[in-house]
């Protein structure tokens, strides 16, 4: 399936000044995590009985899952809908999704009071099909597995023909080599099954993530609470997927001293006006049908937040993506994609935190320094791990003579 991707590990020094900054952030986060696991959640968070969920849910999990949507959207475009020209961005997006979901799970462990029971949803006697969170949990678990399976070809590609075990293990070289080849061939044959599964699982849990807060109608601001939250979450995940790919691709080209892949990103951004249109119009129709449009003008701080989210995060980039000038300019394209990422991240934070109104609120929630440190540490770890993977595995597209002539495209 992916044998025609010309990808190679990036050759450069792993440790730079930026990498050390990441290490420092990870170390700070780790210290707070140590406190969390010895003194309890209360010691490092501002969570209480009014505010059971904070930024570990809103950012680490909700934003994490949304911003990892690049993985399934590009896989769907390139492999299911056969847009082979998007092939070069599939692997970086897949790696982001794989590492992103890994970080989501680590973040979840910090937030779970009884993290050692995280496997309970797999036990049939505890299954509860009526729980939205059960659906999210099971889908994320399966999807994470699928992502690691989709990563395997990069591992076999990395080591195939290069197996050189040291010392006493040397006689095993041939065997391991053969195993890798068999593995590679088998994977290539059955990968379609996993690619489609990944897309279906993503559609399922991206939408269910939105259904989570539907259970709290009396605690949610009516600008955000709606029964169509699952649909809105799914549509915004479709929007943010390609935007994350554009964002990362341009950032990576800068970080690794490469040319921005505008010939791929430009066409990719053409679908964004359509996707954004669906999200914006669904949201507008939902407000209209529920008779809540008047709240946009009520001057409350929530209405301002809502207008910023929709205006800067969705409507402005929607207009920008129409312009061919934007789609051709790395800088403008980057700006527009960043706006959508901002919009979707803000939307998740709004749904889980801003819209949440405890019945007997005596205070506002603002994250504790410990919550911020652990979240920042996790994001630093994500970037650190991404760097490690692209420097050691064939992830990034290599421009060679063959790919420029348009050869080596489909022979899968």
């Amino acid at each position: 399936m992916s044998s025609h991707v010309h990808a190679a590990p990036i050759r450069m020094r792993f440790f730079t000044r930026g990498t050390w900054v990441l290490v420092a952030l990870m170390a700070v986060g780790f210290c707070f995590a140590a406190v969390r696991f010895t003194k309890g959640i209360g010691a490092v968070t501002n969570l209480d009985n009014q505010w059971p969920w904070g930024i570990w849910i809103a950012i680490d999990i909700a934003c994490g899952v949304a911003l990892a949507a690049g993985g399934f959207t590009t896989a769907a475009l390139a492999h299911v809908f056969h847009r082979e020209k998007f092939e070069p961005i599939v692997r970086p997006a897949l790696i982001t999704a794989m590492l992103g979901y890994t970080v989501v799970v680590i973040g979840l462990l910090a937030d779970l009071g009884r993290y050692y029971n995280v496997w309970h949803p797999m036990v049939p006697s505890m299954w509860s099909g009526h729980s939205v969170l059960f659906e999210v949990g099971i889908c994320v678990m399966f999807y994470l597995t699928v992502l690691y399976i989709e990563f395997l070809p990069m591992v076999t590609e990395r080591f195939r023909g290069r197996v050189a075990l040291p010392g006493a293990l040397r006689p095993l070289n041939g065997f391991v080599e053969g195993l890798l080849r068999l593995f590679d061939r088998t994977l290539g044959r059955i990968m379609s099954v996993f690619i489609i599964a990944g897309v279906v699982l993503s559609c399922m849990h991206q939408s269910s993530l939105g259904a989570l807060m539907v259970i709290a109608p009396y605690k949610m601001h009516p600008l955000w609470w709606t029964q169509v939250l699952p649909l809105l979450f799914l549509l915004s995940a479709f929007c943010v997927g390609p935007c994350m790919v554009i964002f990362e691709s341009i950032l990576a080209s800068r970080a690794f001293g490469r040319r921005p892949e505008m010939e791929v990103l430009g066409p990719l951004s053409k679908i964004l006006p359509v996707l954004l249109f669906f999200f914006i119009s669904t949201k507008a129709m939902d407000l209209a049908v529920r008779g809540q449009l008047y709240r946009l003008a009520d001057g409350s701080w929530q209405s301002v937040v809502f207008l910023v989210e929709m205006g800067f995060g969705f409507v402005l980039p929607f207009l920008m993506f129409f312009s061919a000038r934007v789609r051709r300019s790395p800088r403008l394209l980057f700006t527009a994609a960043t706006l959508v990422i901002f919009g979707v991240a803000m939307n998740r934070i709004d749904v889980f935190l801003v819209a949440f109104r405890p019945v007997y609120a005596t205070k506002h929630y603002f994250p504790h320094v410990g919550e911020l440190a652990i979240t920042t540490g996790l994001i630093a770890f994500l970037i650190f791990a991404y760097r490690f993977v692209v420097l050691n595995f064939p992830v990034m597209h290599v421009e060679d003579a063959a790919s420029q002539r348009g050869e080596g495209v489909p022979h899968a």
Binding site: I41, V80, G129, V132, A211, I215, F238
Partner: protein, 305 residues
């Protein structure tokens, strides 16, 4: 394969959700033999003995009776927490001098949102009416706390090893053994009446009918969020006693309808899988055909020369 297929896929998911909304809500009724407690707030004297008894029965940290004779706590509204499963709040009496007291604890919903939210069935409605918590199943995600429309479940945030969700247990061991809950047992003024929920409802309506000047014609918990095991009657509107105004449908019905709509017999996910697989297969066939045509063309050209 192209934009239209993509939109179709989006459409299919949308239709799934719409169908979920359209499907009739299956109301969950109270278990037939559910017990309940009727709280007559017009009888309560604010003695806080129920709080003390609750702490005794549940072995909660604050124990000495003197602690509960302090009336200064009424200055601010209190909420149940991990160490106090029930609290009595004092409210100004409307249209009269003096105060009214209202006891707060888990209402043990007929169709509990917390139990619907829980992904490992750690919270479950028992046939006897209690919404029971099982710490051994719990993962500590606190989604139950998000879901509860009464803001009842509390959490042991200071416990690093085995924190629990804490709330009124409806003295499930005592009621299973045929005893009354601790708070009901001690109440000196019969403000708390324990019995079968159905009988308590009739009693509540009887009292309201017999003393229309004393009571408002509203049994709180009869219909709220699908009904609750604990029922309240009062002489003034419930919001003035700190009770939230809630609709008749449990929030669990909304989410479960969406959830069961999308996942009914796994039709939607399987259909999505099949559609995508077909799109993928048709696309690769087209590629093959194109490649074959290309080859044939080349072949033809060669032949020509």
């Amino acid at each position: 394969m192209d934009r239209r297929d993509f939109l179709k896929t989006v459409g299919a998911v949308g239709v799934g959700i719409a169908a979920a909304d359209a499907s009739a809500s299956t109301a969950v009724h109270a278990p037939p033999d559910a017990f309940g407690v009727l709280v007559d707030t017009t009888a309560c004297i604010g003695c806080r003995k129920c709080e003390w008894a609750c702490n005794q029965v549940n072995e909660l940290p604050v124990q000495p009776l003197e602690e509960f004779e302090d009336k200064a706590v009424f200055a601010a509204m209190r909420r149940p927490d991990a160490g106090n499963f029930t609290v009595v709040n004092q409210w100004p009496r409307q249209e009269h001098e003096g105060n009214v007291w209202a006891k707060v604890q888990c209402l043990h919903c007929n169709d509990p949102a917390c139990a619907s939210a829980c992904l490992v069935s750690a919270l479950e409605k028992q046939p006897n009416g209690a919404v029971k918590y099982d710490p051994w199943r719990c993962m500590g995600c606190r989604y139950c706390m998000v879901a509860c429309p009464f803001q009842i479940p509390a959490y042991q945030y200071a416990d690093a090893l085995s924190p629990e969700v804490r709330k009124c247990t409806f003295c499930v061991e005592r009621i299973s053994a045929g005893e009354r809950p601790g708070c009901v047992e001690i109440c000196p003024v019969e403000c708390l009446i324990y019995g079968k929920r159905e009988e308590l409802l009739s009693l509540a309506h009887e009292r309201i009918g017999a003393y229309p000047d004393r009571y408002l014609d509203h049994v709180y918990g009869e219909h709220e969020v699908g009904g609750t095991s604990w029922l309240y009657i009062a002489g003034q509107p419930f919001p003035s006693l700190g009770f939230p105004e809630l609709g008749e449908q449990s929030p669990a019905r909304i989410t479960e309808n969406i959830q069961h709509g999308i996942f009914r017999r796994f039709i939607a996910p399987v259909a999505l899988y099949a559609t995508l697989a077909q799109v993928m297969w048709l696309g690769s066939r087209k590629d093959e055909v194109a490649a074959a045509a290309h080859k044939a063309e080349q072949h033809g050209e060669e032949h020509h020369e």
